[in-house]
């Protein structure tokens, strides 16, 4: 393949990564933005989504699209429920103290990971894609399913944006994010908003995982990379900023796709992690964010 088409292929792969990453990172960013909680277990909600997608699609016989659609609806709901319960049982009792919640979510990470290992096992298992149409470009054929991931993710991002900026729910969430005490004084049930946001954040990660699992397989350790990349995206994009998160996800996804085609993936990770740590040290509000109040 010539250089041009090779680059196009790398860019397409990068866009698929970006699409999934944007959803996952948005979940992390919402939780941090509204609740000021750094959810270290976010990657495990992603993993749970993928594992549940496998379980659900394996349980439903018939056309693969049926199982996949059921997984797309059910897996995020189950993950959201688990997140809701853990929020009620643990995070609320800690009063959302930033440092205590990090320690607690590290604990959740280990618990979820070990339970997945015990009940799901160490194998990586595939989920059949709902359709296997190949789009023929002049230089190579490309999976239609991968393109549909990009479309689905864009749709979900627009929907989230709409909810956040144009509806009552979004207004309540933004009010809580801006000043939770004043919001409480105005009769907003801050406590329930927190619970909802935590569940929503986990559900976004789970949806992203269901979308990606037909091309990358479900595995109990698959939450680690999305967690780190989401951190990177959220930090670069500015904590709690939706637009920044999406821009950063596209940036990171594309450069990850292109760099790992031409360089060693370990070296790419070293450089990316180091750069992001430096951003956090020298420009803590992120590249696109505004200084915190």
């Amino acid at each position: 393949m010539a250089f041009g088409p090779h680059l196009l292929l790398a860019a397409l792969e990068g866009l698929v990564t970006s699409a999934v990453l944007a959803l996952t990172a948005l979940g992390l960013s919402l939780v941090f933005g509204v609740m000021r909680v750094v959810n270290v277990a976010h990657g495990e909600f992603f993993m749970l989504g993928a594992v549940l997608a496998w379980a659900i699609s394996a349980a439903i016989s018939g056309h693969p699209a049926l199982g996949f659609l059921a997984a797309l609806v059910l897996a995020p709901l189950i993950v959201g429920l688990i997140a809701l319960v853990s929020e009620r049982l643990v995070l609320r009792r800690l009063n959302y103290n930033p440092e205590a919640t990090i320690v607690a979510t590290i604990g959740m990470l280990y618990i979820i990971q070990q339970l997945a290992l015990t009940f799901y096992g160490p194998e990586a298992r595939p989920v059949e894609p709902p359709f296997s149409y190949r789009i023929l470009l002049p230089w190579f054929g490309y999976s239609g399913y991968k393109l549909s991931i990009i479309a689905a993710s864009a749709l979900l991002l627009v929907a989230t944006w709409f909810v956040l900026t144009r509806t009552k729910i979004g207004l309540v969430m933004r009010a809580t994010q801006y000043d939770s005490e004043t919001a409480q004084a105005f009769g907003i049930p801050v406590d329930r908003v927190y619970a909802g946001v935590f569940a929503l954040g986990a559900m976004l990660a789970a949806v992203a995982a269901v979308l990606i699992v037909p091309i990358s397989q479900a595995h109990y350790l698959m939450g680690q990379d999305p967690l780190l990349l989401s951190f990177i995206v959220v930090i670069i994009g500015g904590l709690g900023s939706l637009r920044g998160t999406v821009v950063a996800a596209v940036l990171i996804g594309l450069s990850d796709g292109i760099i790992s085609v031409f360089f060693s993936p370990t070296l790419a990770k070293i450089i990316a992690t180091l750069l992001v740590a430096m951003v956090l040290v020298f420009r803590p509000q992120g590249l696109f964010g505004t200084a915190s109040r």
């Binding site: 440092e99 618990i111 951190f231 180091l274 740590a277 956090l280 040290v281």
Partner: protein, 320 residues
């Protein structure tokens, strides 16, 4: 807080050291070996406690200081053929230097950002170890040859693979670090650190340079952790990248939380307790990380002061 009479505090610590010394002669072989390992890892926890307990800086990247000592000492023996004391010093130097650099960068942030930045630097360190697999052995790790693990003192040479020598070396290191920690905590400098933890702005206002005090604490903490890592490489003869992974940044946090943050003996108790819990349960289940996870959550929920912290609060106010 009640003022501790120095004699009482020193007597308690010397008593603990004497007890550990005496245990060497009565413990069965298996527990003898386990306790040697626990003492070395308790040094790691004490180093972590220096920063987390007394300055209130929660780092999620201390595995890099431990493994700086581990690889600094291990690679000096394996590739350069250095003697044991020189390799130990190399490990300490690596840890101190790394801590200085990381401290200068990471201390520009605070709170949650500090936790994430330290975690990311540790991740970079971990990936670098994997990247240079030709020298570090990658995720397989390297074995430090037995023939090189001999401590030559004058005319006598002590093989560090001998269980008694190993136990006593671990005890010597543990005792030195414990007493150093006690002296630091009771000194003026230790009090400044606690003041920074309680209210950094006010400490600054009183005329203390909080940045350089914190930087010194990071370097002391990193060096102690590196001492633990270097000792681990030399005494147990294995150098591997797992010791640099996130998990080994979380474990000292768990040990310190369990034993009691900001207590000098807490790290030992936490390490001892957790190590035995994992050791006993691993007979029944391989899912020891599950226990680590549950312990972390239960500790922050119901027991944030840890064992010795609670003892100090309820009964023994003089405990350092």
């Amino acid at each position: 807080m009640k003022e501790a009479s120095p004699a009482k505090a020193y007597a308690l610590h010397l008593g603990v050291i004497a007890l550990l010394f005496a245990l060497s002669f009565v413990l069965p072989e298996y527990h003898h070996g386990l306790l040697a390992r626990i003492m070395v890892l308790a040094v790691f926890a004490m180093g972590y406690n220096m920063l987390f307990g007394y300055v209130g800086l929660l780092s999620l990247g201390h595995a890099m200081f431990f493994s700086a000592g581990l690889y600094g000492a291990g690679l000096a023996v394996i590739h350069l053929g250095w003697s044991v004391p020189a390799a130990f010093a190399a490990g300490l130097a690596c840890g101190a230097l790394l801590a200085l650099v990381i401290g200068l960068l990471a201390l520009r942030t605070s709170g949650v950002a500090f936790m994430i930045v330290t975690m990311m630097f540790a991740q970079v360190f971990y990936l670098i170890i994997l990247y240079f697999a030709a020298w570090t052995g990658g995720d397989q790790g390297l074995v430090v040859p037995q023939s090189a693990r001999v401590l030559v003192l004058g005319d006598t040479s002590l093989g560090l693979t001998n269980p008694t020598v190993r136990y006593m070396s671990a005890l010597v290191l543990f005792s030195i670090v414990l007493l150093v920690a006690l002296v630091i905590v009771r000194s003026r400098y230790g009090r400044v650190l606690v003041a920074i933890r309680e209210n950094e702005e006010r400490t600054k206002m009183l005329g203390y340079d909080t940045f350089s005090n914190k930087l010194a604490a990071v370097v002391v903490s990193g060096t102690i952790c590196a001492a633990s890592g270097a000792a681990y490489a030399l005494l147990f003869g294995y150098v591997g990248s797992t010791f640099a992974s996130v998990q080994y940044s979380i474990l000292p946090l768990l040990w310190v939380l369990l034993g009691g943050a900001a207590t000098t003996l807490g790290p030992l108790i936490g390490t001892l307790f957790m190590y035995y819990v994992v050791d006993i349960t691993s007979g029944y289940t391989s899912a020891y990380l599950l226990i680590v996870g549950i312990a972390l959550i239960l500790l922050v929920l119901f027991f944030p002061r840890g064992i010795l912290g609670t003892v100090r609060q309820r009964w023994l106010g003089w405990l350092p």
